[in-house]
Every structure is written in structure tokens, then in C-alpha cells.
């Protein structure tokens, strides 16, 4: 971290106001009917002070613990993905003119977004999507235009959820890059403040503009202590050594049938996953038939039509669709983009209606293979 500062809660409010004045739409966590959502915030009063969440496979509960901490919850179901890679985006409009028609590209006029409260694993997920949408010969211009104008204030984690396993991928609980400003929130009997550091020039100039106090002796240690405690509290893990090969070699493993019996193919995991990027398009005309639109919509490899072609369907069984999901995340993604498609946020575990836990499924496949290799039964 660059030179550390100590931000008061008022300083944070000044940051929100300054970002608004600079033309940003400020997005941060809010409590919405018992769930944290990332949404527009007007001031730090909108932050979910005192709310903590409890998560387990297939379970989420948000409760107020009476404290004042703004960022005491772990992770909400929806990630920042929905602001950068829109769930629905009109791509093109066509206007008919006799036998011919004209094409116009839908420009993104959205305000630039400033995110407050991005978790370390979420920064990594954003950097993964940056690659997905820019590494080939063709890129997603809407996504990249939103990203280029994007300002991010990260908040290191002070509470690990039961489903967090960022430590397995080294993506958390401390933010290392991909932010403009990173905060660690410190709350104790007498004080509530943030240890802050800039991660970019624009982050640095915003801090300078607010003019907070320098961090005093002990502040940085206190921040490290928060992060260390969080890290120690993480119990879930995924052994990622050799994982891409393990999964690509084991497409016929009997355990896929076992998961398929439980999986409802609802696609929740792909919707909440901060890296999933699949989409479909919808074509429609207005009532006059004169103008047509092409809209891109999030899709999921769990939908029945995902791999359908006119002559048949390449993935009919639930088994094949779950296998596509898990194998893509943890195996083929590495070959495609040089990085894993999972950051260990645990959302897919929390929001799976039947509590399927990918770390356990991988464990079962790995265990089964190890048994076979040892000649066991």
C-alpha cells in the first residue's frame, strides 16, 4: 500500500460527495429487505451500518448486530458485474426503409460508476472479466467503456463468511491491486475509522483533495490484524494444484451423476458468479415492423437451449450442464484466458437452492481418483 492515511467516517462522506460532484454515479452496499445489494448511494447514511450476514450452503441471513460498522457483512448475492456487463443491453437498432434497412449502434450514455466497498475477491473477478472481454481479436466495447471510466474503492474484509475460500486462490482477504483506493475499516470501543491507501493516481489525488490525517503509529498494524483475523477465520478450501487437468481428465467420473441427482439446473450459480460471462441475444421488432432491436441478455450454460442447434442438443442431461459449469470455471477457463474462472467468493454455494458446494464436489472427484490410483475400492 502507498503512504497510509487515516480516514474518518466524515472523510468517507466527503469522498462520496466529491465523487458525485465529479459526475460519478456512486454505487455501494445497502440493506434492501434483508439482503445487501449494490445500488446507488447518496451518502454514507445509506451504507448498511451494523449489518452482518450469516452464510452457509444454500443459506443467507442478514441481521443487525447493533454496531456501527459500515462494511461488516461479507458478500451480497449480486456482484459489481451487473454495472459493467449489463444483464440486458440493447446493442443495435435497425430501421427499415423499403427493401433496405439502416443500422445504428447503441452508445452507452451511462454515467461513470464509482464503486464503494468492492471486496478483494471481487476486484480479481473484475480483472478476470477485463481479460474475457478484451483478450481476443474482438472486444466488448460497452464493458470496456464502463471499465475505463470506473473508480473503485475497495474494502478489505473484516468478516469471513462460511463459504469464503479466497485464500485458496490468493485473491483475498486483502486487496493487492485493481483499486483506486483501498480501505480497512477499524471499529473499536472508542473509534471508527479507515486505514486508507491509494492504488492509482486518481485515487491519490482524491485522497489529497480530502486531506485526511496521516495514519498514526499502530493504525497499519491494526489494519493488518483485522485482515489476519479474517484470513484465519476462513475454513473452506479448494486444493487447486493440478485442478484443470483433474477435471478435464475426469469428464466420465461417476461423481458427476451424483451431483446431477441434486442439481436443479436453475442457473443461480451462473447468475451470482462474478466472472460468468455468457450471453444470448434477443431480436424483436416494434408493432409497425419498421424498427428492430438486438438486445444482449445474460445467459447460463444451465439453460436447456444453451447448446441446442437445429439438429439436436449437445447438452441435454443435468450432468452435462453441471459438468460444463464446473469444468469451465476451474479448468477450461485457465486454457482460454490464462487464469482460473473462480475467485473463491462462495456465492454459488450460498445461493444454490440445494446447497451444492463446488469445493466438496471437486473434493469427491479428487478423492475418487486418489482411491482408484491407490488401488482401493
Amino acid at each position: 500500500m502507498n503512504e497510509p492515511f487515516r480516514l474518518s467516517t466524515e472523510d468517507l462522506q466527503h469522498i462520496v460527495m466529491s465523487l458525485q460532484q465529479k459526475g460519478y454515479e456512486v454505487i455501494g452496499p445497502r440493506n434492501s429487505d434483508g439482503v445487501i445489494v449494490y445500488d446507488r448511494i447518496h451518502s454514507t447514511d445509506d451504507l448498511p451500518a451494523g449489518f452482518v450476514d450469516e452464510q452457509a450452503p444454500g443459506m443467507y441471513r442478514l441481521a443487525k448486530n447493533g454496531g456501527t460498522q459500515f462494511f461488516g457483512y461479507t458478500l451480497p448475492p449480486q456482484s459489481w458485474k451487473r454495472f459493467l456487463y449489463l444483464p440486458r443491453r440493447e446493442l443495435i437498432a435497425f430501421d427499415k426503409d423499403g427493401k433496405s434497412f439502416g443500422v445504428s449502434h447503441q452508445k452507452d450514455e451511462a454515467k461513470p460508476y464509482a464503486f464503494i466497498g468492492a471486496r478483494p475477491c471481487e476486484l480479481k473477478a473484475i480483472s478476470i472479466q477485463d481479460r474475457v472481454f478484451s483478450s481476443g481479436d474482438y472486444l466488448d466495447d460497452g464493458y470496456l467503456s464502463a471499465r475505463r471510466r470506473n473508480f473503485i474503492i475497495a474494502v478489505n474484509c473484516s468478516h469471513a463468511g462460511e463459504n469464503c475460500f479466497c485464500t485458496s486462490f490468493g485473491t483475498g482477504p486483502e486487496a493487492e491491486s485493481g483499486f483506486d483506493i483501498a480501505l480497512t475499516e477499524i471499529v473499536n470501543e472508542e473509534k471508527h475509522f479507515f486505514v486508507a491507501g491509494a492504488g492509482s493516481d486518481s485515487g491519490k489525488s482524491l485522497i489529497e483533495e480530502i486531506g485526511p490525517a496521516r495514519a498514526v503509529e499502530g493504525d497499519v498494524d491494526a489494519a493488518h490484524e483485522v485482515i489476519r483475523k479474517t484470513s484465519d477465520a476462513i475454513t473452506k478450501s479448494l486444493d487447486i494444484a493440478g485442478l484443470p487437468k483433474l477435471l478435464s481428465d475426469n469428464s466420465d467420473h461417476p461423481h458427476w451423476d451424483d451431483v446431477a441427482k441434486r442439481c436443479l439446473t436453475c442457473g443461480n450459480c451462473t447468475m451470482v458468479c462474478p466472472t460468468c460471462f455468457c450471453s444470448t441475444v434477443e431480436d424483436a421488432t416494434d408493432l409497425s415492423g419498421k424498427t428492430a432491436k438486438r438486445t444482449r441478455i445474460w445467459d447460463s450454460c444451465f439453460t436447456m437451449d444453451f447448446a441446442r442447434v437445429s439438429g439436436g442438443n449437445f447438452r441435454i442431461s443435468a450432468k452435462s450442464r453441471y459438468r460444463q459449469w464446473l469444468t469451465h470455471k476451474l479448468s477450461s477457463w485457465v486454457e482460454q484466458f490464462g487464469v482460473s474462472g473462480c475467485v473463491g467468493c462462495g456465492r454459488c454455494i450460498t445461493w444454490c437452492p440445494v446447497g451444492i458446494d463446488l469445493t466438496a464436489e471437486v473434493g469427491a472427484i479428487k478423492g475418487g481418483v486418489a482411491k482408484q490410483e491407490n488401488g482401493g475400492s
Binding site: 472486444l139 466495447d141 421488432t285
Partner: protein, 288 residues
């Protein structure tokens, strides 16, 4: 904050989803349900529409949608583009209703090409099933135009019935004029049919292939390709010399929508033309 490499370097790349407009010049019905659109290609910045044999376009019918369709015309004649389309569903039906002068949208050309340069000096075996002849026609045009650069040219083609044969006139011409061996088979014959009956793989016994000197290009339904590749390997053709063109559901054509994934491959940008060793391990697995 975004990585500056990504933010800066990539700004100039083309906008991936915006179609160019093109005009239909003629519609030729090849069979009851398959037609060829002859198209005045879009001109990008005054340049003609260059493509390689094996590449495809995303073809857009106003208000209905897009389909991935291979280019079936001669790459040396980029001023007249052809797409041969089997009418099977919504978009391919809408495209079938187009008439001379109508506008379509085109994005492309996308994907990998057939290995024509690698085939120079070798015998070439082309095996096609059904609509699979369309993406191979640009290869045939090229081989015949540069006839002396290649050894034997063997074209094996299978269709459901005699009425389903594509490019009938050209098939005749190719077999007569240009020193190519054209062998055709149908699944079901009719009273006038005097040719072969049965699957494409059955035709190999009529050729005495010098397999070490041969390169094969295969396109058709996936089962047909699987058995054809097996048969070619059994006859001694090295897997590295066998190429095939794959098909999957496609929404974007440029590696962004995720639909065409085949294991780690994106059919749209890593394919559609692959060498057999690239995908052999995946072809053998169910529902990948």
C-alpha cells in the same frame, strides 16, 4: 481502476456486434429446402470483402436474428459472396424469403480456414455430408483453379437422397473437366438413381488412396465426421493430416457469448476448422 494495457491498447479493436449491410443479388434454390444467396458484399473502407475458404459470417435477417453461415463462394472472387443455407428454423426461414435487392446484415468473416497451403503438393481428399459441402466449395474452387499445385483431388459427397444433392451442375463439371474424382452416394436412392447408396465412409473402398501423400478435409454431421475420421485413420492417414469443421450453437461468433464452447475451445474463434489432434479427445466424449 483498469489495467492500462487493457484500457489503452485495445481501444482501436473493431466493434464486434455491429453488422455491415449487404444486398442480395440473387437467390438460387439448390434443393427443396436449401438455397444459395448471392450477395454484393459490404465494402469496408473501400476495400473488398476478403475471406479464406472455411470462414463464416453471422448473417442477419431484419427483425428475426442472426445465424452462423459458412461462405460458399470462391475466395478469389470477393466481389460476389455466396451463402448456401439449409432452411431449418426461424432465421434460416426468414433468410429464405429474401429477394433480389433486399438488404441483409453481415458480420465476419470469422473463424479459421481450411489448410489449403499445407495441401500443396499432396493428394487432397474432401469428404462432405449434406450441407457440409457448402463450406468446402471454396476449397474445391481454389484447388481446381490452382490444379497443377496438387496431386489427386478426391471429392466424396453424401446426401440424404438424389433430390438433396447440392450444386448438381457443378458436381458434373468438376468430375468431367478438371481431373477430379467425384464420388457421390445417397442414403436412399430413387428409380432414376444409378449411383452409390449408403454412407460416405463406404466410398473409401472405391479409392486407392496413397494415404501418406494425402490430406483430408471433412465436413458434415458430427457422426459422419467421427466415422469418416476413424476410417481415414484406419486407412493410414495421420491424424495431423485430417481437418474437420465443427458446428455449435453460436450467438456472437467472436468468442464473447460462450455458447460454442467445446471443452476449452471456442468453435467460433479457435475453429470452426480444426486439425483432428486438436479436438479428438473431445469428440469421443458425450455431451461435451
Amino acid at each position: 481502476m483498469i489495467d492500462t494495457n487493457i484500457a489503452v491498447k485495445r481501444t482501436e479493436a473493431p466493434i464486434s456486434m455491429l453488422p455491415a449491410l449487404a444486398t442480395v443479388r440473387r437467390v438460387i434454390w439448390e434443393t427443396d429446402d436449401t438455397y444459395t444467396l448471392l450477395i454484393d458484399p459490404p465494402r469496408a473502407n473501400g476495400r473488398s470483402f476478403a475471406f479464406s475458404a472455411g470462414q463464416f459470417n453471422m448473417v442477419y435477417a431484419f427483425g428475426t436474428g442472426e445465424s452462423a453461415i459458412s461462405i460458399s463462394s470462391d475466395p478469389s472472387r470477393p466481389n460476389m459472396l455466396a451463402h448456401t443455407i439449409h432452411r431449418v428454423g426461424t432465421v434460416t426461414s426468414a433468410l429464405s424469403r429474401l429477394r433480389r435487392g433486399d438488404t441483409i446484415g453481415l458480420r465476419g468473416p470469422f473463424g479459421t480456414a481450411w489448410p489449403i497451403e499445407e495441401a500443396v503438393g499432396k493428394d487432397v481428399c474432401i469428404a462432405a455430408g449434406g450441407i457440409g459441402l457448402a463450406p468446402l466449395r471454396p476449397v474445391i474452387y481454389t484447388l481446381l483453379r490452382r490444379r497443377e499445385e496438387f496431386g489427386r483431388i478426391m471429392i466424396l459427397y453424401g446426401a440424404r437422397s438424389p433430390l438433396d444433392l447440392l450444386y448438381r451442375v457443378e458436381l458434373e463439371e468438376w468430375s468431367k473437366a478438371a481431373n477430379a474424382e467425384v464420388i457421390i452416394t445417397v442414403d436412399r436412392g430413387d428409380s432414376s438413381w444409378k449411383g452409390h447408396i449408403g454412407v460416405v465412409t463406404g466410398l473409401f473402398s472405391y479409392l486407392k488412396m496413397d494415404t501418406p501423400a494425402t490430406l483430408a478435409m471433412v465436413c458434415g454431421p458430427e457422426v459422419m465426421m467421427k466415422y469418416t475420421c476413424e476410417e481415414l485413420e484406419r486407412r493410414g492417414l495421420a491424424a495431423e493430416r485430417i481437418y474437420l469443421s465443427m458446428e455449435r450453437n453460436m450467438k456472437c461468433g467472436v468468442g464473447l457469448c460462450g455458447h460454442c464452447q467445446f471443452g476449452p475451445k471456442f468453435i467460433c474463434k479457435d475453429g470452426p476448422v480444426f486439425s483432428l489432434p486438436q479436438i479428438k479427445h473431445l469428440l469421443d466424449r458425450k455431451e461435451i
